[in-house]
């Protein structure tokens, strides 16, 4: 199997061979729920950082005992996976106050899940000096607690090494995003997403090796110009390539994104000079901000515009999960501004589980008619 094929395989969490091998060798796994949790800290502790996802969850009967229909289906599906025992391999789970629904998973998971060690990282809702100091202290406390719970010491050297490994991923991923800018697009958005998501569910060292080789394979591809429109996708948590397959099945090609499982998670390096915890905190706190960060709309707008123009997109699809408050407001705000700048936008409401594909297809088709190159 080629390196690219291995990344595209994207194993299900219930039968992930990387997890199986890791645990089989006595390794521990700590899950995390959001891009504001520094993976390097978990990695530096010798623990496998696993970004918790809910791919393939179709029912939420267990989750709905504790959550409610007004809670988004992403949070309910994550909880469902937890309560169903699908995250039995987690030795710890780090949540944070990323959004109102994810943060409350902490108490429910602590009480009804079966993960031994639970962590909370509280991130301020705006970007400023005192907020940075608070966040730095939060991740320092997280490091300390993680060390104590797992009987490990996390030194500056360990952190520096982890930073280098994760930065390597970021550099490689940046190359992937660059390749996708070509007129002859060498990889579909769905496959690019699989490639990114694989990084969250296998040991990072292994991922880097596979990704470096996969990039060589991608460079050798002829690429296609047979698409109706070049698209950017943004919006709510999107950890499943299926939606992109639906979009690309209608003739578009997704060439970039502003997703928290995409560019917002993977781009931006950690500084490799200076105090490592400080550098980690800076990258995660000051990086491309999530819509939960107040007073950062103009920065997000600029980042979205830059990404869109850089990839020469014809239009942007902002998908928002029903009851996702952050994107419910952010998406129309962005749409208004971007349309005024001549960038077409489709705001698409959906459930986490793609149960209403027909409706989504109609909306996307209509959007493509509007923006199609041919």
């Amino acid at each position: 199997m080629s390196a690219l094929d291995q990344l595209l395989a994207l194993p299900d969490r219930r039968e992930n061979p990387h997890i199986r091998d890791w645990k089989g060798a006595g390794g521990r796994v700590v899950g995390y729920a959001c891009r504001y949790v520094p993976e390097e800290i978990i990695h530096a502790a010798g623990i496998f950082p696993y970004r918790v996802e809910a791919r393939g969850t179709a029912e939420t009967d267990l989750a709905d005992i504790y959550l409610h229909r007004f809670n988004c289906t992403f949070s309910r599906c994550v909880l469902q996976a937890g309560l169903s025992g699908e995250y039995g391999f987690l030795d710890g789970f780090c949540l944070l106050n990323g959004c109102e629904q994810i943060r409350r998973l902490y108490e429910i998971w602590e009480k009804y899940g079966n993960t031994e060690h639970m962590y909370m990282v509280a991130v301020p809702h705006s970007v400023y000096d005192a907020g940075f100091e608070w966040y730095k202290e939060e991740i320092s406390n997280f490091t300390e607690k993680l060390s104590k719970d797992f009987g490990v010491k996390v030194s500056d050297k360990d952190l520096e090494k982890s930073i280098r490994i994760y930065n390597e991923s970021r550099r490689l991923i940046e190359q992937l995003y660059e390749l996708r800018k070509a007129d002859a697009v060498p990889i579909t958005g769905a496959d690019a997403m699989r490639t990114l998501l694989s990084g969250c569910i296998m040991p990072r060292e292994r991922y880097n090796g596979l990704l470096a080789s996969a990039l060589d394979e991608i460079r050798k591809k002829k690429g296609t110009t047979d698409y109706k429109a070049r698209l950017m996708v943004g919006g709510s948590a999107l950890d499943d390539p299926q939606l992109l397959e639906v979009i690309e099945g209608l003739g578009g090609v997704v060439v970039t994104d502003s997703l928290c499982f995409g560019s917002r998670h993977f781009l931006d390096l950690v500084e490799e000079n200076g105090a490592p915890l400080d550098a980690i905190a800076k990258r995660y706190y000051y990086g491309n901000p999530c819509p939960r960060m107040m007073n950062e709309f103009r920065n997000r707008l600029k980042a979205t515009e830059d990404l869109a123009k850089g990839a020469n997109v014809d239009g942007i699809i902002l998908q928002k999960i029903v009851f996702c408050d952050n994107h419910a407001v952010e998406s129309p705000m962005l749409a208004d501004e971007l349309e005024a700048k001549g960038i077409p936008v489709l705001v698409l409401e959906r459930e986490y589980m793609l149960s209403d594909i027909g409706r989504l297809k109609t909306r996307v088709e209509a959007f493509m008619e509007r923006i199609a190159r041919r």
Partner: protein, 464 residues
């Protein structure tokens, strides 16, 4: 620049205040039927009040005319009118308008000679008073492409801002708790109306570190406001307003204690007003309301009286989340028809550890106000882990001798719905008291209309 002519809603509330005064002053009038019904009352009203009267919820007028409700109704409407007058005077004098979130108390803004307007107050006032309520504002914002699952408390005001019916903000102040929907709509407002947004981060943890952090946040608030407005925080003025607020809090806590008595000596219909007037802590009108309320409840308590008809068995409710404000007569109905009294709820419960602001110095007052932010109803319960909310209500159910925990869950509150079962289970486990959980919108009557509220309640009451 603030358009100081956007006062449609203020003008409407002022007229309603005049209307209420007129009606309450009529001797022997206990309901509109005493005068021959709505049409006859309308004919008797001064002409300038008739159009306003047409828009008011008629059942609310009958509620405030009841002898047991008159005193508090008068104070309530006085507070509304005085708030409007205060805003109008400030606007006419060219003062800057600061829109603020409801769990932030306003002494600092007052001491900086700003006009504090609680962002949610338009929605909170219109919903109970008028037939059209807050819905026009909601619909206006939703017409811009914003979905229905956002909070009506912000949607309404956002819509009224778009409609030019309330003054635009010069500055906006938001505490980060409790929710994404309010955070985002404040950000939207700042962007749409080009007003700077000052945020107060609220700590996730209730420990020394959290307290130290929020004191720093309040100091940062003062610095930012001074820079943005060109105004300086005046220590003497701050002391003046903090003392007024301390007095109001004293009345609030005393009234709260009285509600523990059996039978409960306080009525339920005015509870949304208490949340609204918590945004007036520090003002004479806020103090007047809470003083009047206390005197009313105390007088009843001293007589050993309750608020339900004689012969009815009292069923005491603790409201584990919020009241609804679009039909205040619903609480009256609960008392009269079912003997169900209203003790406390999340949006009005003031934990006794709120204490009083030490007015010795600016430093001590800032520390006291920061501490108060940690205790304000709703802010306290939702700031961090759910155990605060849950443990508060286990204690409330016990201390207030509640027979049931009623949780009308506001549909937009995702963080609440994510803890609703934790709350219900723990209360049942620790106290044996049953819980009723149902969906509603606290301000938009269309989501769960009054008839449906009553049906849900009646079904539950048969089980008690």
């Amino acid at each position: 620049m603030n358009n100081r002519k956007d006062r449609t809603i203020f003008d409407r509330i002022k007229l309603t205040g005049d209307l209420a005064k007129f009606v309450l002053q009529q001797e022997g009038l206990t309901c509109m039927d005493d005068w021959g019904g709505i049409e006859t009352v309308r004919e008797i009203l001064p002409e300038n009040l008739q159009t306003n009267f047409d828009g008011v919820q008629p059942a609310l007028i009958d509620t405030i005319l009841k002898e047991k409700n008159k005193k508090v109704a008068g104070a309530l409407l006085d507070c509304f009118v005085n708030f409007v007058d205060f805003c109008n005077e400030g606007l006419d004098a060219g003062k800057q308008v600061v829109y603020h979130y409801f769990p932030i108390s306003i002494e600092i803004f007052l001491a900086m000679d700003l006009i504090p307007i609680c962002y949610e107050i338009s929605a909170g006032l219109l919903a109970p008073l008028y037939k059209d309520g807050v819905e026009p504002g909601i619909d206006r914002l939703e017409a811009e492409g914003y979905p229905d699952h956002l909070c009506s408390a912000q949607k309404g005001t956002a819509g009224f801002l778009l409609m030019g019916q309330i003054p635009k903000p010069d500055v906006i102040v938001k505490s980060a708790t409790p929710c994404d929907t309010s955070n985002k709509l404040y950000e939207w407002t700042a962007h749409k109306f080009d007003a700077p947004l000052v945020t107060i981060e609220t700590p996730y943890y209730r420990n020394d570190r959290g307290v130290k952090f929020i004191v720093g946040e309040v100091k940062r608030l003062v610095e930012r406001l001074e820079k943005l407005t060109g105004k300086t925080l005046d220590e003497d003025k701050l002391r003046h307003y903090c003392k007024i607020a301390n007095e109001a809090i004293d009345y609030i806590l005393k009234t709260q204690e009285l509600k523990k008595l059996v039978p409960c000596p306080d009525t339920g219909w005015h509870r949304p007003a208490e949340t609204i007037f918590l945004t007036q802590l520090g003002t004479p009108m806020g103090l007047n309301y809470f003083r009047t309320l206390y005197e009313d409840v105390k007088a009843r308590a001293d007589r050993g009286e309750g608020v339900i008809p004689k012969g009815k068995k009292e069923k005491r409710f603790a409201w584990g989340y919020t009241w609804e404000a679009y039909d205040l007569t619903f609480f009256e109905w609960l008392e009269q028809e079912h003997g169900a009294t209203y003790t406390v709820d999340t949006l009005t419960y003031m934990h006794p550890e709120v204490g009083f602001v030490d007015t010795t110095s600016t430093e001590s007052m800032i520390e006291g106000l920061a501490w108060r932010i940690l205790q304000m109803p709703m802010g306290r319960q939702s700031m961090g882990f759910s155990d605060v909310w849950v443990d508060d209500f286990v204690r409330i159910v016990k201390e207030f001798s509640a027979d049931a925990l009623i949780i009308g869950g506001h549909m937009a509150c995702k963080h609440f719905w994510a803890l609703n079962k934790l709350l219900s289970d723990k209360v049942k486990e620790e106290t044996g008291v049953p819980t009723l959980r149902f969906e509603m919108d606290m301000l938009d009557k269309r989501f769960t209309p009054s008839g449906e509220l009553k049906r849900v309640m009646e079904e539950f009451l048969t089980t008690l």
